[in-house]
Symmetry: none
Subunit: 540 residues, 2 copies
């Protein structure tokens, strides 16, 4: 039924007839950028588009060219990218009321973006059309039909049916009419959007089926676009695929407005690895998913989500000693997939809940072999330190040094002679506070003495320590602190509260965590700072 003057961009095909290929449509660069705290530079957007193409994402929505100059520039510069088989899409809306499609600035911006595909969003919900747009229901249908028709003369058109599920619940017949208007005008994909993220999986299933039935006389494919307001976006996307949708729209890491869009990482991994009857990304291995996830977090300058399914740092981290014992015997007891399949890795956390199994697993990484006696010494040292309040699960660099110390392989690069901090408020005539540190160290037979100011005593100590060591170890100037955490812990003795300091450091390439414990926060911080520097020096 559909006729389109644009070159046909087919749904992906599969070599394995028993598996249905599902197209992945990424809108990180457009819907994702609506997320709180997210702001991509032009170069960020180009870099992300290239990465998405590399791993085989089928469609990449680059932006909304009417909305800002950055997106216009993106589409201009994106013409120079080699995106392989990935289709670049520009996003826009149906024409305004009382305007011809060809005169609408949004339509013109879409055509000017010169992408193989355009994604056009229109109103499905009768309430939304009348109350927010102030359009009659027939006007809204005309806006959809004429906009798609105009655009389909120039481009492949995907039609995003905004609020499709809410609209269907309010007025099923009208919701189907809006889809039919888009299909009749030449849209090749009809994408059902759960714009508010409030729809439940069983509703997705039922309404998706109704949509297919209502469009049975058209040669169109369906897509799904979910938001995560009920923490059901992944389940809803999978439910729509099971109901026949052949395209899933979402963002990397689920970034996006409110609770975010569906996380394409989880969608891709579930479709590719868990559900057996679908194929994604042309059946490529999914081993770069973890790297892609972290690349997008870093580019967006967002905190990683440690517990993120499949790709989080903790996604395959084991803490309970009993679990670790079982994992060593048979990984599948506490791992639903092999972490290597998504480019992630197993991590064994050392904690008060862990036993010998954890230590053995970690020691394995240090090539300590079968030295039972050494293992017992390490275990005893961990227990002793944990009783003081140490916790090594995120202080792997300190744990690394602990193993070196116990096994006699630790050689200190310097000796602390003394450190002092002074901190307080300014003279009453000034605002704010001050902090200063004085450091005296010995490297070999040479004494080094230095002082530094800082934003606080730890910052001053950190600066002073590296200043005092720079003469002997100039490479330490590369290190900087990226996180500092403090926690009051009850020591096993139960007398005085101990303070645990965790520091995360980076040299721009690697990051590492160290720990210090004392009843004096300054001493605890000093221990963690010293470990951080020693770890870096031992790596070389």
């Amino acid at each position: 039924m559909t006729s389109s003057a644009s070159p046909n961009v087919p749904a992906p095909t599969s070599s394995d007839a028993s598996r249905t290929p599902i197209a992945i449509y990424d809108t990180t660069l457009r819907d994702g950028s609506q997320g709180e705290g997210v702001s991509f530079s032009l170069q960020d957007k180009l870099n992300i588009a290239e990465r998405l193409a590399e791993i085989g994402i089928d469609f990449v929505e680059g932006g909304y060219p009417l909305s800002n100059e950055k997106d216009v520039a993106f589409f201009q510069q994106a013409r120079n990218l080699d995106l392989g088989n990935t289709q670049l899409c520009a996003f826009g809306m149906t024409r305004r009321r009382r305007m011809k499609a060809e005169d609408d600035p949004g339509m013109q911006a879409l055509v000017a973006a010169e992408t193989p595909c355009c994604t056009m969003v229109g109103k499905t919900w009768d309430y939304h059309a009348t109350e927010v747009l102030g359009a009659t229901l027939d006007e809204n249908l005309a806006m959809i039909g004429e906009s798609v028709e105009y655009l389909a003369r120039h481009r492949q058109v995907l039609y995003d049916a905004e609020h499709f599920f809410d609209g269907y619940k309010a007025n099923p017949a009208y919701a189907i009419e809006t889809l039919r208007a888009a299909a009749a005008a030449g849209a090749q994909w009809l994408v059902m959007c759960d714009t508010n993220g409030g729809t439940l999986p069983e509703e997705i299933t039922a309404i998706s089926a109704a949509a297919r039935e209502g469009l049975a006389d058209f040669n169109v494919e369906f897509g799904i676009h979910c938001h995560n307001d009920c923490e059901l976006a992944v389940a809803n996307s999978l439910a729509a695929v099971d109901a026949g949708a052949l395209q899933v729209q979402g963002t990397i890491n689920g970034i996006g407005e409110r609770c975010g869009n569906v996380d394409l990482i989880a969608v891709i991994a579930n479709l590719g690895l868990k559900k057996k009857n679908y194929e994604v990304l042309g059946d490529r291995p999914l081993t770069s998913l973890t790297e892609l996830s972290r690349f997008v977090y870093e580019t967006a300058n967002l905190q990683w989500r440690g517990g993120q399914p499949f790709v989080g740092q903790s996604a395959f981290a084991h803490k309970g000693g009993m679990h670790v014992h079982a994992i060593n015997k048979a990984a599948k007891t506490y791992e639903h997939i092999d972490p290597v399949l998504v480019g992630n890795e197993r991590r064994i956390l050392v904690s008060e809940l862990s036993g010998r199994s954890n230590i053995e697993a970690i020691a394995g990484k240090h090539n300590l072999g079968d030295d039972k006696e050494l293992m017992n010494q390490i275990l005893a040292e961990v227990v002793r330190l944990e009783n003081q309040g140490f916790q090594f699960e995120s202080a792997t660099a300190s744990f690394d040094l602990l193993i070196k110390r116990v096994s006699g392989k630790f050689e200190p690069h310097f000796e602390t002679i003394k450190y002092r901090v002074v901190a307080g408020n300014r003279d009453v005539t000034h605002d704010g506070s001050f902090a200063e540190a004085i450091i005296k160290l010995k490297v070999g037979d040479t004494l080094w003495f230095d002082a530094a100011e800082g934003h606080g005593p730890v910052n001053a100590l950190d600066a002073g320590l590296r200043k005092a060591l720079t003469g002997a170890y100039p490479q330490l100037s590369e290190i900087s602190l990226i996180d500092y955490k403090v926690r009051v812990v009850d020591s096993a003795a139960g007398t005085a509260a101990s303070i645990r300091v965790n520091i995360e450091s980076t040299d721009g390439k690697e990051t590492w965590g160290t720990i210090g414990v004392s009843d004096n926060i300054i001493e605890a911080s000093w221990q963690a700072l010293v470990d951080s520097v020693e770890y870096k020096l031992h790596q070389e």
Copy 2:
């Protein structure tokens, strides 16, 4: 079929026969504490248990008494808590191989915990029993049956069937046999655990139905316990409820090992507000969910998850101008529920705070009445301070003082002239570190000057502050610090990282929280200490 010598703890009942009550079982204090970076003090655990009881959680699992002394102490002290209708549960495992149940230390620890309910986990998966436990399949059934039977003589027993879904897929008949062994021995609840978090919703539905069918001749109820490794834990929990489960186990905010347990916040909100045929928490309003979520994050010293469904700071935050325009015309266009229903609020500007309802609720306690102008001033001050990194969720005493300051009712009891701390390591011939503080204050026209030593600079400041004030306010000697937390936060300005200090103080009767923020940890601590003392003095 079931007989139990323990007092019967029924499933919750509903006044509305058309809605099925679903019991909520919280394991934040046990399974949640397996999460990376999570470590609760004894007092943290007692505080959380009380909060959970306040909002009407049906079951609270307090810990695993065999595993550590802290959990033993928790159950001892929890006897003094008033938990209303909430049932406290102790967690343990089936007896060891070749040991009588009554001789097993784990069983004895469970009984010694003296809780109304015990939750016992056992192996469902044939592979797990034989490969990891090294038990025969019959031995495993005997371990389940004898353990439950022994415990059911003393307690209400919930049986957690570990790896139930993986076990069923591997050997359906045996998986059902393990449930039947528990039911025959007197377990009242059979909880199907997706331990690996790898099960898909359609599998949950089918296997739950098979379990009910396999236990049709027993008078038992079913529960569901999901992990989030596929980002499907909420969908899976809802699917199990739709398939007849009457209990959902999970943790607040979904904290837990790997990708976490199911987030009970989303489960409660979906069951209570979205799905129409269920009732949770005795049909109480869910308006304290947001506060509960943040309380648990603060107590665990974890970062909030901004995009967390229902309760995240961004969950009802609108960035796009078009959305904001629509929201102003009709909120339901971009909000799937009214945020007030879960104690959250709409945010239009990025810098606007969450928690207006909290402010109004707390302001209500101060008899501020309907003074809209004052409310707006308080709101503006909170926004200003939140942009600096303040966070008043668990610093209610500082918030109390803020209201007094804004409404002109604050009269300082003293003026800080100066404070100084000096801290460092001892002379190399001595072990350990030192910290000293010097304080100069003005009370009325009198200057007070004093110095104190402490375990660390904050302890010294605290001691010095109270020492300097004791002459004027002898009652301050009753105060002591019971918790001290530090968090690095990014200020809204985005230039330098700020440090947030939370202090919890007690006078033996009341406890109160205060806060300070600065780029200098000593200054931040000083602010929180001063607020703590001022709060105490204002209370009198």
